[in-house]
């Protein structure tokens, strides 16, 4: 049961990773990074149950919180750059 779920999560992670690596725009990557974080949280929780140590859910909680901060920071700085030099940011977003 847990194993099946974990495998499903791993496959999803791989798919998300493809998006993160290929882009093409920066927004794709931001979304991919966020989603990857979410998947990690779930995987963490699953591993905790698989290893029969549910007390380690603390870790999953940490990941969830940190992931939120990371994504906010990315958005914040990205927005900052778009506003300060709108040309360069757009270009770098589209060219990849």
């Amino acid at each position: 049961m847990f194993v099946t779920a974990a495998i499903a999560i791993l496959v999803t992670m791989a798919l998300v990773l493809v998006r993160a690596l290929l882009g093409p725009t920066v927004y794709d990557r931001i979304l991919a990074a966020n989603m990857f974080g979410t998947k990690t949280v779930i995987l963490m929780a699953l591993i905790a149950f698989l290893a029969d140590r549910p007390d380690f859910l603390d870790l999953a909680l940490t990941y969830a919180l940190i992931n939120f901060i990371g994504v906010l920071a990315v958005l914040e700085f990205f927005q900052h750059r778009v506003q300060s030099h709108s040309d360069t940011a757009d270009k770098s977003g589209e060219s990849r």
């Binding site: 194993v3 974990a6 791993l10 992670m13 791989a14 990773l17 993160a20 690596l21 882009g23 920066v26 990557r29 931001i30 990074a33 990857f36 974080g37 990690t40 995987l43 963490m44 591993i47 698989l50 290893a51 140590r53 007390d55 380690f56 603390d58 870790l59 909680l61 940490t62 990941y63 919180l65 940190i66 992931n67 939120f68 901060i69 990371g70 906010l72 920071a73 990315v74 958005l75 914040e76 700085f77 990205f78 927005q79 900052h80 750059r81 506003q83 300060s84 360069t88 940011a89 770098s92 990849r96």
Partner: protein, 329 residues
């Protein structure tokens, strides 16, 4: 099962690492580094290193991403393409080194081998003696805080060095060492304009700090301790700064306080060591702190973890503010 999971995750990690090196947009490279860190942390957890996984997540994926983004905002966002000299020569040397190293790993003990030398010496003693001598469930905390407490003292000093160093470097040509809230232009847009992140961020920040405190004082019983707690608390305050702006964040937690926390943590740690010397023990011998050696160990661990937490919080936040409050021009 975990072996297969690990193999899969590790392969992804190698792919991400190569992608990071090839990526020319630095902003994207930093984001990929965060993914790399998350993968690393998951692997560490699979390898039964819960404390390390917690630290890697909080510091690697959280704090260092934020710091790198802060530095990027002040520098450049794209790498210029250039062709280094002697490219193929050094690639050839590296491939050679790679092959040599791969060859040298063939004699390594297989992963998880119970017969490996590392599981025969020293480590069993820690696992056996911790419940007797220190009486806390988390053996990692016991080794970190007591058996190898001197290393941890050094580690706190490393963090302090980085903190003082960043303040020193970034104060060149300026009139004050610490960021001054009144001098920061309040024209930064920040996320205040966007209601959802603003509200959620503000709601979440106190809970993150609370969770940080839980990790701080629960470190003897579960994964966690001063480092993880310090990183989490710093992350919570950083979140507040992200959604509210630098000036309110610095007004909430003034730079002087952060500087005091960084120095105070080291003094507390060193003070515990000196107190144990004055009571007739060796440096960092907590057993002499109380009449009952085990109670002494408990108190010692509690105090030094507190010192670690203080310094880590103070230094990480000072460094963050040093970047975030800096005028990019």
């Amino acid at each position: 099962m975990t072996l297969v999971f690990g193999t899969f995750l590790l392969s992804m990690m190698v792919l991400v690492a190569i992608a990071i090196v090839r990526e020319h947009n630095l902003f994207v490279a930093v984001m990929l580094s965060a993914i790399f860190s998350l993968l690393m942390a998951t692997n560490l957890f699979l390898l039964d290193a819960a404390d390390v996984a917690l630290t890697e997540a909080a510091i690697g994926a959280g704090i260092s991403t934020v710091l790198a983004l802060g530095a990027l905002a002040l520098t450049a966002e794209a790498e210029q393409r250039h062709r280094p000299k002697y490219r193929w020569l050094s690639i050839a040397i590296m491939v050679l080194a790679l092959v040599a190293l791969l060859y040298s790993t063939q004699d390594n003990p297989r992963i998880g081998d119970p017969e490996a030398p590392v599981h025969q010496h020293v480590a069993p003693w820690y696992l056996e003696q911790t419940p007797i001598l220190i009486d806390i469930p988390n053996v990692v905390t016991a080794v970190l805080g007591s058996f190898r407490g001197y290393d941890t003292f050094g580690e706190v000093l490393v963090i302090l060095t980085a903190g003082i160093g960043v303040l020193f470097l970034l104060s060149a040509g300026r009139n004050d060492l610490l960021p001054n809230p009144r001098r920061i232009p309040d024209n930064t847009i920040r996320l205040r304009q966007h209601t959802i992140p603003h509200v959620i961020g503000k709601l979440l920040a106190p809970f993150i700090i609370l969770f940080g405190l839980y990790v701080q004082f629960h470190g003897e019983y579960g994964p966690g301790g001063g480092f993880q707690a310090g990183a989490l608390i710093a992350a919570g305050v950083i979140l507040y700064g992200l959604v509210e702006g630098e000036r309110p964040s610095l007004a909430l937690v003034p730079p002087n306080l952060l500087y005091g926390l960084s120095l105070g943590g080291v003094l507390l740690y060193g003070g515990v060591g000196i107190a144990s010397m004055l009571l007739g023990g060796n440096f960092l011998d907590y057993s002499v702190l109380m009449t009952d050696p085990i109670a002494g160990q408990h108190w010692g661990l509690l105090l030094i973890e507190l010192g670690v937490g203080m310094t880590v919080t103070g230094v990480l936040l000072s460094i963050y503010h040093a970047f975030a409050a800096r005028d990019p021009h």
